[in-house]
Amino acid sequence: MEPPERPSRGTFAPWDEPAAQPLVLFDGVTKRFGAETAVSDLTLAVYEREFFALLGPSGCGKSTLMRMLAGFETPSAGRVLLAGQDLAGMPPHVRPVNMMFQSYALFPHMSVEKNIAFGLEMDGRPRDEVGARVAEALRMVKLEGLAGRRPHQLSGGQRQRVALARALVKRPKLLLLDEPLGALDRKLREETQFELMALQERLGLTFIIVTHDQDEAMTMATRIAVMDKGRIAQVGTPAVIYEAPATRHVAGFIGEINLVEGTVSGCDGRRVTVATAVGDLTVADAADSVAVGQAVAVAWRPEKTRIVRAGEAISNGRAVISGTVHDIGYLGGRTTYHVDVTGLRLKAAVANAARSVERPIGTGEAVKLAVAPDALLLLVR
């Protein structure tokens, strides 16, 4: 039988359907630890079969949010609902949610097999069913030969797989992953990212992942919630988060960005002109409505910037900023130019499409940076 497939990411968008019921709903949730507020009046919906990422720096409240879902913390205010049911007062061991811990939390006194069987045994499953499902879980994470090993006899990557198998063997409605790849080295992490995505699609499960790694979130997630100081700064698909960040914090946290502060000097519908230290910049399509005189920021991505020598011509309609090359970072696939412009340092990233350039731009050269108006973002918050 063919496993059910999640519709491709282009059409899978339950968050845009008003009738869709969320699987998880945080409804005005606040969590205080003593005088400290870890999560502040937060509302968030996650839909079935999503691969949802909670992204933010450490201490932003993302782990607290997940621990409230698993039942290890109780909200100070607000409700947490799973499939429409309020989870208040439900202890962790009866919640139909499983969690993969950052430290993996494998039981050191049990074999791999026993670790995976633990959850099924606690449910009182008959012995032959436990055996069959454990074997299936071991196959799923490709650890068939290691059933009898103890956790300390495994490599980091193998432990990660055992933790994943143990969390998945109970077929939870919802799997929570707390920094699941944090302890792996980079190459293994990238491989595992794709394995996790494939697994999630094949099993048709809902994953919520906590991570501080933006690449991880961008690669795996259907949607990302960027968190900052206990609040959600923005929720959206990776493309929306990257191309249309809502705040300065989101813009700076995801990828590299050039950010220039200024004041609104002209306003014509969604076309906004901002006076900045590097000259007037006109944003073609501002997301927020602003008034003349308002303090705002204009931002753009380095890879959407063209860089040419000071003498060369640039096609009309682009914002042009003159400066001097301070530094050049060659990264193989692309080259990043750091350009000094009246006390600011702006970045331009150029894809290295050809193997060699006749006369490359060097350090100290006078250059012009050009950005198309539709690549400029207006950030109010």
């Binding site: 061991h93 499983n98 039981f107 006194h109 969390a167």
Partner: protein, 263 residues
């Protein structure tokens, strides 16, 4: 040259130190194999005094009593000490925590004479007949603090996410404790039990205060016999006690090491 000399000095200091600590014990062990009736005169090798112990009814009764007291008091102290350690590590803040930890550890530093005397006063004022149970309770009182220390040292490094993982996988709190917490801290609990057993085994002071007729422990029996003169039999039974204590202490330290290795 200097390093050789300092090595010689080190060796001498070490020898003297160990001699100071263990020579008396070695002499006792040697003389337990003395064929002569006189304790201080060597009359050739013999194990006759070990055979004689078996015939000495009083000594054997006292030894059996001591083992029973040690086992019962160690079991009780292990239960109470482990619970105390759990309370102290798991509930970082509760009313009277400082007082509680003080009360748990006080018997460790309390002079034994005071512990013994105060327990005697308690038993007398409550009108309890002194005997097996009073010694057992008294020993559990002063050994449970040691158990608490040993178990607590294991619990502070215990990864709480293991318990959370167990709960997350559907284990109710009682199952979390029996299936995950207890098996992982078991070596420390065993070490605590062995330590309590050993402490009870060689206690003289508290036992003399809290025991009654018919419940004489081995250290008390030895002490009272020695007052009439040291016999080779006493050397033999003491050697057996030393052997028992040594084995138990080694077992306890192995258990602690295993618990450290399992981390």
């Amino acid at each position: 040259m200097t390093s050789q000399r300092s090595r010689f000095l080190d060796a001498t200091a070490l020898t003297l130190g160990f001699a100071f600590l263990y020579l008396p014990i070695v002499i006792l062990v040697i003389f337990s194999f003395n064929a002569s009736q006189l304790v201080t005169v060597w009359g050739g090798f013999s194990t006759r005094w070990y055979a004689a112990i078996w015939q000495n009814r009083q000594l054997m009764d006292a030894a059996w009593m001591t083992v029973q007291v040690a086992a019962a008091s160690a079991a009780f102290a292990t239960l109470v000490g482990t619970l105390a350690a759990l309370a102290l590590t798991r509930y970082v803040r509760f009313r009277g925590r400082t007082l509680f930890s003080g009360l748990v550890y006080a018997p460790i530093v309390m002079p034994e004479v005071i512990t013994g005397l105060s327990l005697l006063l308690l038993f007398v004022s409550l009108g309890i007949d002194r005997g097996f149970w009073t010694v057992t309770v008294a020993h559990a009182t002063f050994t449970c603090g040691f158990v608490a220390v040993v178990v607590q040292s294991r619990l502070v490094t215990f990864d709480r996410s293991l318990e959370e993982a167990a709960a997350d996988l559907g284990a109710a709190p009682a199952h979390v404790f029996t299936r995950v917490t207890l098996p992982i801290i078991a070596p420390a609990v065993v070490a605590g039990f062995l330590l309590a057993f050993t402490l009870s085994l060689d206690d003289l002071v508290i036992a003399s205060f809290t025991t009654g007729p018919g419940s004489t422990t081995l250290p008390m029996r030895i002490y009272s016999q020695v007052r009439l003169g040291v016999t080779p039999e006493i050397n033999a039974i003491s050697t057996l006690m030393i052997a028992t204590v040594t084995v138990l202490v080694i077992a306890a330290s192995l258990a602690t090491k295993r618990s450290a290795a399992a981390r």
